[in-house]
């Protein structure tokens, strides 16, 4: 009877079997393949890669399958695998200005050089359940073929579309905020300083106050839901910073490394990334005339909501640097950076289900003692309350009997 309270290895192994059975579901239904997940649940794969901080669609798809579609669990699987990988080197910074763009929009200008390209967005779909997708044996391939044969120019908004293919424009497409540089209306990005090492939170713990490189890395790995809520809060007045979506772009960028023995960059593959540049109003200070400031968001894959929220929070966290009052949660470095990681949050919240009976026993002892002291001090008031509760359950009768021993 007493052993039943504590778990054994057999119970754990049995739970592993239960997980495997639950994951597989009904055996009458064919098993889902990792390739199907990679190809047909692409946005789930992208989120797992982004927060898992590992660009590998096949492993992300495997993690999603193994975790039964629990994306936080999949992210954990990918992160735990990632920590075991050796570091072979560092890539050159990716250049999103040379992106093969599949989607590119600006909310600040009606027309921009290179045009606005909607790409595969839900933005203008009507959220009506499409029952044709549920129909067994349909020919969904038709839609796919149609999409591929549609001239990409059709996805352009306005006239200046350059008619590049749906799989991305190969020609450089300038980033919209760079176009505004000439007038000095938008703050300049800091030049890349190769002598200055970039922070890496996966190797060194976060130190405060954190510089922007560490903050952006933290936000890039952060839980989408947490950033979304924080970003939203800035829009509702908790650290308002007047944002405009200067540009959002998604597509493929080349990943390059510069091997020491070669001394020049070689292309080792492509990454799909989403980038969001927010422009925010800034009234200026003694040193800086009024200009637009920036908030930045970047993620692996197509995670547009995440990058937009990230850009809002990035800008909010720059309050101190820009001499703004820091009062709202989204502006508070410690609050944001220490609570943004889904693994840390999910782990610590859920660890409450681990046994705590030692601590609880210690508290029980204290509460019983304090109740006994209170009863001794004013026997009438607490005594009658005790009698009332003793009537309600037999368990409490036993408890008070134990106390009086």
């Amino acid at each position: 009877m007493y052993v039943a309270v504590k778990g054994g290895e057999r119970a754990i192994l049995a739970s592993h079997e239960a997980v495997a059975a639950a994951r597989r579901g009904s055996l009458e239904v064919p098993e889902m393949t990792v390739t199907q997940i990679r190809e047909q649940l692409g946005l789930a794969v992208d989120r797992v890669m982004a927060e898992g901080a590992l660009y590998d669609p096949d492993l992300a798809a495997l993690a999603i399958k193994q975790s039964r579609g629990d994306l936080l669990e999949a992210i954990h699987l990918l992160r735990a695998y990632r920590t075991t990988l050796p570091r072979l080197g560092f890539s050159a910074p990716i250049d999103t200005g040379r992106m093969a763009v599949r989607r590119r929009i600006s909310a600040t200008f009606k027309d921009v050089p290179g045009g606005q390209i909607l790409g595969p967005t839900f933005d203008y779909t009507h959220r009506l359940l499409d029952f044709s997708l549920a129909a067994e044996g349909a020919r969904p391939d038709q839609a796919h073929r149609h999409s591929l044969s549609t001239p990409a120019g059709d996805q352009h908004v306005g006239k200046s579309g350059n008619g590049n293919g749906a799989n991305g424009t190969a020609t450089p497409m300038p980033r919209i905020l760079d176009v505004l540089h000439g007038e000095g209306l938008v703050e300049r990005e800091r030049e890349d300083d190769e002598a200055q090492p970039v922070a890496d939170l996966t190797r060194e713990p976060l130190t405060l106050p954190a510089e922007r490189d560490a903050r952006l890395q933290n936000l890039a790995r952060a839980d989408e839901g947490f950033l979304l809520g924080l970003g939203y809060s800035t829009q509702r007045g908790y650290g308002r910073n007047h944002p405009f979506a200067g540009e959002i772009r998604m597509g493929e960028v080349a990943l390059e490394i510069v091997p020491e023995e070669l001394g020049f960059a070689i292309d080792i593959g492509d990454l799909t990334v989403t980038e969001c540049q927010m422009v925010n109003q800034f009234h200026g200070s003694k040193e800086v005339p009024p200009q637009f400031t920036r908030g930045y968001g970047l993620s692996f894959g197509y995670c547009e909501r995440k990058t937009m929220a990230m850009a809002l929070v990035d800008r909010a966290l720059r309050g101190r640097e820009l001499g703004e009052p820091v009062a709202a949660p989204a502006q508070d470095q410690e609050f944001v950076l220490y609570h943004s990681d889904a693994l840390e949050a999910a782990g610590f919240v859920q660890h409450l289900k681990l046994p705590h009976y030692i601590d609880f026993q210690a508290e029980l002892e204290l509460v019983r003692r304090m109740r006994a002291e209170a009863a001794a001090a004013s026997p009438v008031a607490v005594g009658s309350a005790g009698a009332a509760s003793a009537r309600t359950t037999s368990a409490q009768v036993t408890a008070s009997a134990g106390e009086s021993r």
Binding site: R79, Y81, E204, E334, I358, D359
Partner: protein
Amino acid sequence: MKPVESVGAAARPAGMSDTAVTGTPHLMEGYNFAYLDEQTKRMVRRSILKAVAIPGHQVPFGSREMPLAYGWGTGGIQVTASILGPDDVLKVIDQGADDTTNAVSIRRLFERTAGVATTDHTEDATIIQTRHRVPEKPLRERQILVYQVPIPEPLRFVEPRELETRRLHALNEYDLMHLKLYEDIAKHGHIATTYDYPVLVHGRYLMSPSPIPKFDNPKMHRNPALQLFGAGREKRIYAVPPYTEVRSLDFEDHPFEIQHWEQQCEICGSGESFLDEVILDDHGRRMFVCSDTDYCRTRRDTAAAGQAAASPRRAAPEEA
């Protein structure tokens, strides 16, 4: 802490299989000895050395993502993995017991990745990883007790900001904690902290003993074993070297005291160990038993042996 030889290759595990390698049947393929790579272990060991050199001081370290969730003991696991050698004998307890699910799971992780010998016997272990308890049986030199720590900062619940608490430690400014304990006394007549009771180490650093019951605090004082504390999510390591002074905060007129039970363990009869209350049925019947399962079983076995020898009705409880 002897140098550890690399056993597995750092190669990508093929489908993360756990097929056997030669020698140890349960060893997992494709992972380094004790899971972490050697560079990471070296980094952790450097942090441990610094922590030992500054007793009670929290040393930030590059905590890694582990195959167990944060909150499940990732800090303790990284410390254990970094000091574990092939000849070590490992004991893992949670709530004082070797058979709680998480203790089983962590022991299994090291059985699978390091293939080290494990034990339930406190005296046989060279490394004991624990959550929420210090074993009842006194530890000895050359034993290491590794605590799993959720919140390493003792001041966290009186001051949530890390920047501020670091400053308070630097300035040896612990009035906030004394004030909190004083408020307890003013409100309740005594200090209302029952676990994770703050201690002052070597007369300098205020330290969280991890959520052990305050019953265990005196065991930390001048303990012959090395005590290491790992907080994975919070990325901190700290230590109490052997024979170091560990004082629980108190006041002259309200001296520190530990929990006492009027009951004794119903299995081994101990009146000196920390007791778990076990509810037996839905009428609220309960029994009290030792939380330290090894201590309890050893006492019961000794009593049974004594009974067999002299056959008295009940062996006198031995001194703990």
